[in-house]
Symmetry: none
Subunit: 444 residues, 2 copies
Amino acid sequence: MKERWKSVFGMTGRKTQEKENMPVVELISVGTELLLGDIVNTNAAYLSRQCAALGLSCFYQSVVGDNAQRLRAVLAQALERSDIVILSGGLGPTADDLTKETAAALMGMPLVMDEHSLERIVHIFESRGLEMTENNKKQALVPQGALVLDNENGTAPGLIMCRDKKTVVLLPGPPGELCPMFEKSVRPYLERQGAGILYSRTVKICGMGESKVASMVQELIEGQSNPTVAPYAKIGEVHLRVTARARDKAEAAGMAAPVVEALVEKFGDRVYTTDPDVTLEEAVTGLLKENGWKLSTAESCTGGMLGARMTAVAGVSEVYKGGFITYSNKAKRKFLGVKKETLQRFGAVSQETALEMAQGAADTAKTEVAVSITGIAGPGGGTAEKPVGLVYIGCSVQKHVTVREYRFDGNRSIVRESAVSAALTLVRQCMLEWLAAQKEEAHQ
Amino acid sequence: MKERWKSVFGMTGRKTQEKENMPVVELISVGTELLLGDIVNTNAAYLSRQCAALGLSCFYQSVVGDNAQRLRAVLAQALERSDIVILSGGLGPTADDLTKETAAALMGMPLVMDEHSLERIVHIFESRGLEMTENNKKQALVPQGALVLDNENGTAPGLIMCRDKKTVVLLPGPPGELCPMFEKSVRPYLERQGAGILYSRTVKICGMGESKVASMVQELIEGQSNPTVAPYAKIGEVHLRVTARARDKAEAAGMAAPVVEALVEKFGDRVYTTDPDVTLEEAVTGLLKENGWKLSTAESCTGGMLGARMTAVAGVSEVYKGGFITYSNKAKRKFLGVKKETLQRFGAVSQETALEMAQGAADTAKTEVAVSITGIAGPGGGTAEKPVGLVYIGCSVQKHVTVREYRFDGNRSIVRESAVSAALTLVRQCMLEWLAAQKEEAHQ
């Protein structure tokens, strides 16, 4: 197997493109509200994703407040170690907005009034029927020689300044202004600076822990250069992202393909998709649709989370009939027909109850597939025999019922989320097994 | 009213304390997935908020990838300009996790095996029935002399290292591990470092939009210095955070109290709590408990999200009996007894269906209180007459049913979350109204 990996890798591996010609980008987010944690820095995630897609490497991101001295120090350092610095925020009309002033001073470009921007701002205030104050004019001041980017969703124009092979891009902080401006003006500009693109595919694996997956692909990860393989752990899932860097998309896709194929072969049925946009619940929905089956759910400790996750899929109504939240023993009996003796003898959290819950859901809702969850999510309710984290999941496919026991670690919320992921994994696995068994029978 | 606000404010206002003796904290988030924009840096927002609440100033935040050289440079700089550096991420078992190694080397503290942590990790693997690999042991190595923080939700322990009046805190990257560890171990540690504290209370308001709330407290927000009043909008809720800075908790609490009281008086019944830790679903749970009532739910477009939110409350089993996810018309008829004619004549998304769903849930589950949701979450399924975002919510309290129509903006996920919040608000309001009416009757 080792050999196989090496050959796959050798086949597609090529030296990482010389980075000397690739500009390195760095992000600086300006705003005291970020330092106080009042807002989450979604701009940084957006800009990072955009730069990665353009094949630009980004090694550092910083957040700094509305303070001229500290902002100047951070920007000066960024210009030393990176080629392109994208700043966001601090372009507003108030006195504490000083990103533009600080950047212009550092780049040695004096601020001058830009008549075009001033006209735009005057027009915005007029059309809103608002009075324009003196400090709004400040927003029309631009560094001499800078490229001015019109803001179609606000008053502050964006700016691109170049000097001594260094580029500084200034963008307004509100995402509703930043994103459209990036897409319309900054991306085309950066595309002309970049050399090549990054292309990614994701192999999504369910029902296997991160370390197990990582140890199975360790050699591939360690020897990586281009394409690279990187694992990302989610609750109940591990995603392996294969990323190739090349001159264009077709070349990169060609480089990534054999690695993706090899991973799919290695992990077999555990791979539920290689499409980065497909979720586990969508994979389950797809499998149900293919077979013309309907699904119902019966949840105790997860209290509706599995139903909520299934119904997050648009168009799931074709396959998801409904579900039961049986949080009390009475509801388990009344809604699902779980027997009183079962609950008394084995308890609500038991293999037997999970089995009757799945059967009850399938019978009551009249569905080919049903899945049940019963467990102890904590923090209370655990005993030595039945500790917090103990969960039973039942799955009925065409009257054939499987029940499995799980022991999850973590707080109430993690136990519940883990149970939902495990239920989706189990229902997918049971459907695949039932289909495989049918196929085998037909062959005999 | 203006006068009243001013007097409340003047009474409690005092100059912000000198910050000279307060340690300065800096955050470093480690992870290539942040630089690539694969995940949003919610940890930084969380840690910033926590540090601000402790009265610690934070002037810089950085993000750096899993690269020893660059991480070392960023950490060295942070230790020069700040007193406490909190790093998150890069504590995993794989070869590219090197935060601990880099920080320990920089602090001059060699790594040694921590038997207690090793035992914990071995136990976790055993209890999960998983095989432990050699690289998992790496997580039990700790810098000699460091304070080891048990991780109750994962394998990587947290660490606090002190040397030459500088403190380095290492936390695991997954928020489900980082947040509980911060609350249990790091916050108490940092509290002892701070000089003076920030004390906050939160007035939580449901069923009123952000601009309406903001306009009602505008004067208070504008004139603020200590205590401050800041609005935070959540889906279906607005939180007003009142924060006082003082030498100790008692003094700060005394400063915040009259402002909180004034806000409660102003917003009346819309205020569901002034405890920052109490959620809307907990407030509903409390009201049910007080009256000895049971609740059931009937959900169509939210597919279990309301049940999931109710059952996120530990101990809710005392009041929440269960629910029905009736995603199809058949389920609405079969599980809840909604009439065929009602569905045919008025449609699944109608006042009449919402009413019969609430009645059906109350009757079938035999609960004093029941709430139903039916709507069009999108992206498909909307018409001119019944557009995406149209939702009907029904609530039955002691057989008395109220149905209300809502029109929510936003994508599928936002419409669904808005509907759940609105349902919790409505069920709370209907219970309060029923109780008030009973009281009035008794008086007559």
